[in-house]
């Protein structure tokens, strides 16, 4: 099944929503292996950009991702942070085999430190750990 990226009505007016859709599209085009990752994702992830006062909801339904402006429905995982920390998900260093974040990486360490200090909050991480790991892999621009 070919992946499908949908920008929900009204989401185009929000820069972050458009940027995330563009980022996912570019990653899928350049790295076909990410299509398999997207096909296994199911659930809702809410990204709250505290400094911008914006929120984006990503709905994953087996190869189809819908980008909504604001929080739509009940998210499985909610990530609250400043915009740069949220987008740092795309720059985290991943281990080649597992595809999980490499704690030795500089950006990964920054994200972990921010999480430890409380400037980055993740709600619902443990029950949806596979979803978060796949999201990190999908957004990554490094692997």
């Amino acid at each position: 099944m070919e992946p499908c990226i949908v920008l929900a009505p009204g989401a185009a007016e929000q820069p972050m929503a458009g940027m995330l859709a563009q980022l996912i599209r570019a990653n899928l085009d350049e790295r076909p292996a990410k299509k398999a990752t997207l096909a296994r994702m199911r659930g809702r992830v809410a990204l709250v950009f505290e400094d911008l006062g914006q929120a984006v909801t990503l709905r994953f339904e087996r190869g189809r991702v819908t980008v909504d402006a604001g929080i739509v429905g009940i998210p499985d995982v909610t990530l609250r942070a400043e915009s740069e920390l949220v987008l740092a998900l795309s720059r985290m260093e991943l281990e080649p085999r597992s595809g999980l974040p490499d704690p030795r990486g500089e950006v990964t360490r920054q994200v972990l430190d921010a999480t430890r200090e409380g400037s980055r909050e993740v709600h619902g991480l443990l029950p949806s750990l596979p979803l978060v790991a796949r999201l990190t892999r999908l957004l990554s621009v490094t692997a």
Partner: protein, 440 residues
């Protein structure tokens, strides 16, 4: 168990102790046994030094304050009414005559707040006036100061006895300045005296207060600053010269260079808006002559956008250490920055610039007009003039502005741009270092 070191090593047979101390250490009252006392040992050690140590004698005719031997014939015995003897053993000239030799070269130091720690200032003193007056003044003719306050009562008493107002430029606790060297602490031995006291006065002086000499290096004439005398500082003006080249601040493009004078490396990096803004123009004292003086040369704002600004921007990018570091992996082509069309500001067609950045270096920059000129550029960022102004002035973070959609990347690969967030920020931040004149 400690032995009675005081009795064996430094007993009264060796060095006569004061009566009170000898009685205390000997315990001759017959009631208490003699016991070792560490305190007494220390005291006796100090006494031994006091007895055996020769008095320091300084040849004050030597600018460096070389020390004389005890039997040197040039030793000066100063008592009431005595006169100093020069190198040839001849009585030196009169006070006024000798003082005049120094007058052209001496100048009173300006009032220094630090000098007022030990005593209060005796009143306003125009620089360069009072020291000369003090040197050539007849004490008997001058009225004593109206009031002398401060903690240094001994010094005040001497001045009052001499009947002259002496401004004290240096006082206790004055930190040693650059170029100053403490040359000795003559003891208040009654047989010896420090020569050149006649610089100030060869009348009876309380020798106990002639304790400290300072020789200011770097002065053409050796200068002596007596602790209780007139503050005498050589009239040396620090030379300030512009120097460009290796010491010019490479991080300040647009002809903005920092020149240093003096032997130190410390830069003076405050930003001045004028074309030539002297910083520390001249050294006020000989001790400050060695300190660096700096000024900025050629700081002129460049109109934005323009060819000159674009070139200065390229220079700033090349001078940016951050960009050199984070932009090293960048091999994705040139970046164009375009200002949206605004006829009211004369931006029609859209002005912009193309930076040919590659591996952390800006290989070239072009000022262009119109969106057609940036076609084919791998990365094009477009924003209104007001937004560019905020970014260039450093008031807005370029990455955040991009996330907010205020800086729009109309052409380019977003994952690559996100991957080089630090590089992109360093690139735009370099623009903040360009002195910019914005159109109104």
């Amino acid at each position: 168990m400690c032995a009675p070191r005081a009795a064996v090593v430094l007993g009264p047979s060796h060095f006569p102790l004061p009566r009170g101390l000898a009685a205390a250490s000997g315990h001759d009252d017959g009631q208490m046994p003699a016991r070792p006392s560490r305190v007494a040992t220390v005291r006796e050690e100090a006494l031994r030094l006091g007895v055996r140590a020769p008095a320091d004698v300084f040849d004050m005719d030597d600018a460096r304050g070389a020390e004389l031997a005890l039997d040197d014939g040039r030793e000066v015995h100063v008592g009431p009414g005595a006169r100093a003897i020069d190198d040839a053993g001849i009585a030196v000239r009169g006070r006024e005559e000798r003082g005049r030799d120094f007058l052209p070269h001496l100048e009173a130091g300006p009032a220094d707040v630090r000098a007022e720690r030990g005593s209060q200032r005796l009143g306003p003193c125009p620089p360069g006036e009072e020291a000369r007056n003090d040197l050539g003044r007849e004490p008997a003719r001058d009225a004593p100061p109206a009031a002398v306050h401060g903690r240094d009562e001994a010094g005040a008493r001497v001045r009052e006895e001499q009947g002259q107002a002496v401004r004290r430029a240096y006082a206790d606790g004055h930190p040693a300045s650059f170029g100053d060297e403490r040359v000795g602490l003559p003891r208040s031995d009654e047989r010896r005296v420090v020569a050149r006291a006649d610089l100030v006065d060869d009348l009876p002086v309380d020798l106990a207060h002639l304790e400290e000499l300072r020789v200011a290096e770097g002065a053409t004439e050796a200068c002596v600053v007596l602790r209780h005398g007139v503050g005498v500082v050589a009239n040396v003006t620090g030379e300030v010269e512009g120097r460009e080249g290796p010491r010019a601040d490479a991080a300040t493009p647009g002809g903005e260079a920092v020149a240093y004078a003096g032997g130190l490396e410390a830069p003076c990096a405050e930003k001045h808006g004028g074309s030539l803004t002297p910083g520390v123009g001249q050294a006020r004292r000989a001790s400050r002559a060695a300190r660096p003086a700096c000024y900025r040369v050629g700081v002129s704002a460049l109109p934005f956008p323009s060819d000159a600004w674009t070139q200065a921007f390229a220079d700033a990018v090349n001078a940016s250490e951050d960009y050199r570091r984070y932009g090293k992996p960048w091999t994705f082509g040139a970046v164009a920055m375009v200002i949206e069309k605004d006829a009211s500001l004369g931006f029609d067609p859209e002005p912009g610039m193309i930076l040919d950045v590659h591996e952390g270096v800006c290989r070239g920059a072009r000022h262009v007009h119109g969106l057609e000129a940036v076609e084919g550029t791998p990365f094009v960022i477009v924003a209104p003039y007001a937004m560019w102004k905020e970014v260039i002035e450093g008031e807005r973070d370029p990455i955040k502005a991009m996330m907010e959609g205020k800086l729009k990347m109309t052409t380019g690969h977003l994952p690559t741009m996100l991957r080089f967030v630090q590089s992109s920020r360093a690139l735009v931040v370099s623009a903040t270092r360009v002195p910019t004149e914005f159109p109104h």
